[in-house]
Symmetry: C2
Subunit: 336 residues, 2 copies
């Protein structure tokens, strides 16, 4: 029941009548050391189950070998997949993951960034809620690389980022709708001060314009990516004097909320109103209707973000910034 003192290099050194540095060399493989003693040391380490103290090593090396990840909501399968991707790369490269959930709260986000700064993370993968300028500047000053995902900041050129071509995704989705014969099309957008929200709206706008279809303000509502907002906005849209025949909804949660409202109003998808969405893939294959959707390649976003970070951390020379824009992946559905 008593706490067993952890074995330190010093203990091994004492036991083997060697110096601490020799033990250290035996472990790291760096520096000259005779085969004899190396074997002897490694044997002793095994049976003592010595565990290196990585906190001490981090302090000495000025490198904690850990990556921070901050997402707005880990229960969103998009972010869960991003993390999974980043984790697998990190594991491979010997980095550990410090995780934080910001709950879409800019204050929590800033807190998490501060915590990670103090923990001396080597780099940060950030799905930011919004404008968190000052804290980000601290990372820049300390030369800790940050890669933005999902949402990219205004001044994206001075950062790394991995995102999806949201404009194209929305444009393509809209075009498909139009080609199916829909003309009365509305949209529940994301927050327009976030790049993902804004770009999707703009892609929609441009596709409509290209086909000479005017936008109808009363069919367009700005949501906040939450389920409740999907419910509310869809209700408002359906209660307009002449409701649209199709609505594009800019993320998964808002789509779930909207679908619920539609059912509650006794209407059906797509007969009364067609739906198209983003990031609404259905791993359960139980969805009915299945939702036509443009999806971000989530796992890939995670792996790429981690790779960019680690690449920058291990680069010998300064690297210019990488703004990776991945292709959205379309999955068809019977929601339209």
């Amino acid at each position: 029941m008593n706490k067993q003192q952890p074995v330190r290099l010093r203990d091994l050194a004492f036991e083997l009548n060697l110096s601490v540095s020799t033990i250290s060399r035996a472990i790291s493989g760096k520096g000259r050391i005779s085969d004899k003693t190396r074997v002897r040391v490694l044997k002793a380490i095994k049976k003592s189950n010595y565990t290196p103290n990585d906190v001490a090593r981090s302090l000495r090396m000025q490198n904690a070998m850990s990556l921070g990840i901050i997402v707005t909501d880990i229960t969103n399968s998009f972010f869960a997949s991003v993390i999974k991707g980043a984790q697998s790369v990190s594991r491979e490269m010997g980095y550990s993951i410090l995780l934080s959930n910001s709950d879409e709260n800019i204050l929590y986000e800033a807190e998490a960034m501060q915590l990670m700064l103090e923990k001396q993370i080597s780099g940060l993968i950030l799905a930011s809620v919004g404008n968190n300028g000052p804290k980000i500047t601290q990372f820049q000053n300390l030369n800790i690389p940050v890669v933005f995902i999902d949402n990219t900041p205004e001044s994206v050129q001075s950062f790394d980022s991995v995102s999806t071509d949201n404009h194209k995704a929305a444009h393509s989705l809209t075009t498909r709708l139009i080609e199916k014969g829909y003309k009365h099309i509305g949209m529940i957008t994301g927050p327009l001060n976030q790049s993902s929200g804004r770009q999707r709206y703009e892609g929609f706008q441009s596709a409509m314009k290209e086909h000479g279809i005017p936008l109808r303000d009363e069919w367009i509502r700005e949501g906040n990516f939450q389920m409740e907002s999907g419910r509310l906005m869809m209700r408002q849209i359906l209660e307009t004097p002449i409701p649209p025949k199709a609505v594009i909804i800019c993320n998964n949660y808002m789509t779930y909320g909207a679908a619920k409202t539609i059912k509650e109003m006794g209407k059906s998808i797509p007969a009364d109103v067609a739906l198209a969405s983003f990031d609404t893939d259905d791993p359960t294959s139980l969805s009915s209707p299945t939702i036509a959707s443009m999806n971000q390649p989530a796992v890939q976003i995670g792996t790429k973000a981690a790779e960019i970070l680690i690449n920058r951390l291990t680069a010998k020379h300064p690297l210019s910034h990488t703004n990776l824009v991945l292709e959205p992946v379309f999955t068809d559905g019977d929601s339209w």
Copy 2:
């Protein structure tokens, strides 16, 4: 573009003509210090945006103030919710979260545990794949508390754990099926060497026995909690000479796989075969049919696990082990 040297206590000390220890005291609030200098120091800290080096502090304090979480699959919404719960408690109590995904791989799990040992985590929340005895012993030896979730080890009494009453959940689910008039009932179990898998099977057994309904071996298959195994096992069960009229499936992914197979075989739920499941709640409200399911209170499991851990870490006196067993939450559906 150059790396700005981080501000250290020493820098502040130099700037203010004070000693390092005085600065430290001003920050921590511990130890005597005059109001005058404290204010002076705090002011200087603000405008220098000093960031404490928590790695150094951790080394000195022999306490990294971080919790490890290892889950088998972060994209499983159950685990994502557990993490979310644990995270919120951790944030509140000033702990950070080291996350690892084991991918249901016992080797990765052991690796992650080793990494966390080296990172000197204060405690571990572990959703273990299987028998990982030796590594767990290391945590015990070093007196690092481990709380098991989802799956509990054989020798559960010597650990903390937070789990769900799986036996009861399965028993109740089976009883409901029987009360609905089903007699021909099969089961796709989880791995029977995992407590959650085994207990659900046993709950099923006991309910069937109570109602005097014999078990039919050909209707019972051991799965591995993965989607593919759900497909395969359901196919085998439906291809028996006389298939059952209802099947209980022991987790969400296997249910998705099974439902897919059922559709592919041109059969329908529940007309041809009724389904009941575990942890299959439907946040999308798009599922059709909706699946009757016994669910673990995932967020609560996360918060409780973190609380137990932190409670033990801050306790003045040795605590006896906590084996918290939470009630499953039933959600009805039209899958039966």
